[in-house]
Symmetry: C2
């Protein structure tokens, strides 16, 4: 049986940066070629970055992608890599990007995959299963493909049949994998833009193993890595044998070139063709000249798995770093209250960017305790960040002297004055403002609109308070185990949480204990569990009602970009779904 040396290129593209992404592909192909690889596989839509959202609707962007693909094929050949089969994801179209008035014309954009060989595009495949749930909106953007492409790689006795699939194609039963089995292929490629989700990791391996068994074929799964706005792609690329055995697996949250020799069955002479089940099959010969490599087989290795908390920390650090770098910010600024949330955000920021690119501002009020200032200063010292102090009393007093305010209005005023200070520093010095509210607070509306919610990125937006504490302890323990200084002051972890907006205030004055709150929130928000179900799980009915109401009412607060009456359907915000991090410009340079 022939042995194919496969290189899985787990890379970090940037949305819209077609020339940068093409350069990345050329560079990794060269590295794979130096290691003797025959086939190099890149992630879903690696050439455009992913997800491109409403850029799909711009004809000029589709054309840019198509042209960049043709140029990449030619450049690879010119660089001496024409004999390798290089598999890349890109954006294609065989109809207009968007429907006009004539709805009989079919919309054309395709989530596409190409095999590049000898300076040209030897084969293409269009994604069949389009995800349209959670963070995915692909029914808005793409037309599903209805043909499975099977590429016959090699010449003479060394030919193997390889099926091309994309991401969701592996998550849904039926479709490409079932057809690949019927087509009797030896290898299925599955290229991904599959975002990190807590606890998804094990589901991914067992899924790939199940599909490999169903298809009686080896599966090569390659995923991108890196942050793209709110999504973090974790990599975790792998090769799994038809037996379900894990042959090779890359580390998460880092770029990798996973090179591994796989022994594959020779392509069968009488392989079935035409329509097989729900899809047609298109067979393409790609006569790459290769010989089974001499010497010891190349082994990609199986990377050690990260612990749950290490995974989350890795996602948060990479997500922040790429948001800052890809949007070309030089530095970040955040308020340091001495509490746990801002301490953890500061530690994430320092891990992502280094202390010299992080500005921490203590903004004490008359209600701030002594330990708040001390703990903030202690954190700054441990992290090496740029520490400043801006007391807010004079500014707050200027408002109070001119307006007749009481109670909650005064509490919120303090948070808003802090927001104005951070934004002024951002305007004056160019920092990105980091917000530090955790998911539990945001869920129940325990934050001040235009106050502590001010900022351009929030590392804890999706981290419940209980997990914030766990992460703080894990980070400190991990530092201690490496003989480094634990970055987070023990006092910030241990003290009872308080907003310190009035004397003696504690979070527990307004909120249930965070362990109970988070359990209800997890059920209600993430689990879509109803009231009866939560009560059956042992929660107090009155508390369930209270938390559900807080969550429902807080939805409003999170819509900080004011809604308004539509008179056209192309306003901004939700209508125009564009990546924040995007390097493509249709305009002249």
């Amino acid at each position: 049986m022939p042995t194919l040396r496969i290189a899985l290129a787990q890379v970090n593209p940037v949305v819209g940066d077609l020339s940068g992404n093409a350069a990345l592909i050329r560079e990794r192909t060269a590295a794979a070629a130096r290691s003797g690889a025959h086939l190099v596989v890149f992630p879903e839509m690696v050439l455009t970055g992913y997800p491109v959202e409403d850029l799909t609707f711009r004809d000029a962007f589709v054309t840019s992608s198509q042209r960049a693909l043709a140029k990449l094929a030619a450049d690879l050949d010119a660089g001496g890599f024409g004999e390798l089969a290089v598999v890349v994801g890109y954006l294609d179209a065989d109809g207009p990007a968007r429907l006009g008035d004539d709805t009989t014309v079919r919309r054309g954009p395709r989530n596409a995959q190409a095999v590049l060989h000898r300076g040209g595009v030897a084969a293409t495949y269009f994604k069949h299963h389009l995800p349209n749930y959670g963070v995915f909106d692909e029914d808005r953007y793409f037309v599903p493909g209805d043909t499975l492409t099977v590429v016959r790689l090699g010449i003479g006795d060394e030919q193997v049949d390889v099926a091309l699939t994309i991401c969701e194609d592996i998550w849904q039963p039926g479709g490409p994998f079932a057809v690949a089995a019927a087509a009797r292929v030896g290898l299925v490629l599955n290229i991904n833009g599959s975002p990190y989700e807590r606890d998804k990791d094990d589901a991914r391996l067992s899924l790939v193993a199940r599909r490999a068994a169903e298809a009686h074929a080896t599966v090569a799964y390659v995923n991108m890595v890196g942050g793209q706005d709110e999504l973090t792609f974790d990599g975790d690329s792998m090769i799994v044998a038809p037996s379900g055995e894990l042959l090779a697996r890359a580390q998460q949250f880092t770029e990798a070139l996973l090179i591994h020799d796989v022994t594959l069955p020779v392509a069968v002479a009488d392989a079935p063709t035409g329509g097989l089940g729900e899809m047609a099959v298109r067979r393409v010969e790609v006569p790459t000249a290769w010989q089974t490599p001499a010497g010891a087989p190349q082994v990609g290795g199986v990377a050690e798995r990260l612990s749950d908390l290490a995974e989350v920390w890795g996602a948060l650090v990479l997500g922040l770093r790429d948001y800052v770098e890809k949007n070309r910010f030089k530095s970040v600024v955040l308020g340091l209250s001495g509490g746990i949330d801002s301490a953890v955000v500061a530690a994430i920021a320092v891990d992502a960017l280094g202390g010299q690119r992080v500005v921490g501002v203590s903004m004490p009020s008359e209600f701030s305790s002594g330990h708040s200032r001390d703990d903030a200063a202690d954190l700054a010292k441990r992290s090496g960040l740029d520490f400043r102090t801006e007391p807010i009393a004079t500014m707050v007093d200027a408002f109070l002297a001119n307006m007749n305010l009481a109670g909650l209005a005064i509490e919120n005023l303090q948070a808003r004055v802090r927001g104005v200070i951070l934004m002024a520093l951002s305007n004056q010095e160019g920092h990105l403002v980091l917000t530090t509210g955790n998911k539990s607070e945001l869920a129940v509306g325990y934050s001040t609109l235009y106050g502590d919610s001010v900022g351009g990125f929030n590392p804890l937006k999706d981290v419940p308070k209980s997990l914030v504490w766990e992460l703080a302890r894990w980070r400190n323990d991990d530092a201690a185990a490496r003989d480094q200084v634990p970055p987070i002051p023990e006092n910030s972890i241990a003290k009872p949480p308080s907003a310190e907006l009035r004397p003696g205030q504690l979070d527990t004055d307004s909120l249930p204990d965070y362990a109970v709150l988070d359990d209800i929130l997890l059920g209600y928000v993430e689990g879509d569990r109803g009231r009866d179900d939560l009560i059956a799980a042992g929660h107090d009915p009155a508390l369930v009602d209270r938390v559900m109401r807080m969550v429902d009412l807080a939805e409003y607060k999170r819509r900080q970009s004011a809604p308004g009456t539509k008179i056209s359907f192309k306003a901004f915000g939700r209508d125009r779904r564009l990546p924040i991090t995007n390097r493509w410009r249709e305009t002249a340079a």
Copy 2:
């Protein structure tokens, strides 16, 4: 041929208010019955309100809708209306609301329509064509129906065949209307939640006429009215004959009960059944006892059309009024700069709520011109709103004394101090803060994040600056024509726009002339036109590049709710797509 007296109930439901919406249906049915109607038709999802967004995923909400439907049918019968056929839209499901791990189970939510008769549900229909573009996400929420329901109304010689369809079913060729033609029905009902869109009005009538001709049937089109968050449903219900003749049409932007007698062909004895083209046909007998009414026929009348500007004004006033009322705010507050945008918002608010529910605050700075204060006071006097003055100098100086700020940072500081003042008034007195930035400013990022962008609702969010001026002139002329005081000071309309954040500042220092800017924005944003296309239309290439870049970069600013790294796919904001205006609560009262 039998004559059927149809009542189209153009009503204003509230999302989630199942008992309130049911009461509305009972009340309008009673009114229709008093006029001798045989058939009463309500809009799409009238029982739940529309759109319900992610409430679809809550099993308890689906159950609430199903139970409310059964109770409504029983209540109508108990009220003496059992012999009428009452057609209502609601949320149904024949599978789980959301897929779990077992993706072989089909998701079940349906955008449904029921015919209520004699205390029960006599027939149902599930929407076939699901819109998944622009403001619609129905592929996320619903499973499409594949069976057309044809109801045979009446007994003896007076039987007519009526096909049930929902909204998008009329917008796409093929499907229900084609099948209704093959089924030889006499009447097609099309129930809608069709939002107002500028210039859509004429498209709607010509579409209904085209489908009536294609189906060889009379079409009764009923649409809801009212604001629901950003959408405004304008009504415009109508009845069109197979010839394309418009028989009756309701006024826009107001509730209406359009009652009209239509003469319909007797149901054919050998009407085809079973599968007809792309859908199956389900035939249901609904033996409503009716006789062709004696006396003069009931004529619904054709309402006079509004002018383009009157339509837009109507949408903006209704959108604001319903946002305030449905969210149970007592009053609104806005900053009055003396400029055109805040003057127009104030006039809209006074038209929507009355002057006594509108608070206007002049917040002059050292850079504010004398005419700014005078024009704001003049506006207040004309409108009868609650006028106050809060000079910002002391607050701004308190920041400047403590921080080292210059240039843009000082300009933005002033806008943010104003935002803090408005939010403090909101906290202290309970007003909803109105934002006043127009669509042109928002598009190019000419506004201050957390400054003039502060607020819970923005009537001008989708109104370009050129249209703001047109609306101001139209509103003043309309008042003059009615011998009323024109609400907007002529000086606010005539003077060159300025943010007044530094001495002598004019919008034209930073932006092109608004007429040119709006023309490019209209092409780029609303028309999805590319750079080459805009230049071919006669615009200066450098200006096109500049405006396109401003729009692309300003996308970030509009995302005021900070993004953050996802570690689960159920965070908040965009992930959890819930109506802001929603009365449904799963919790105990």
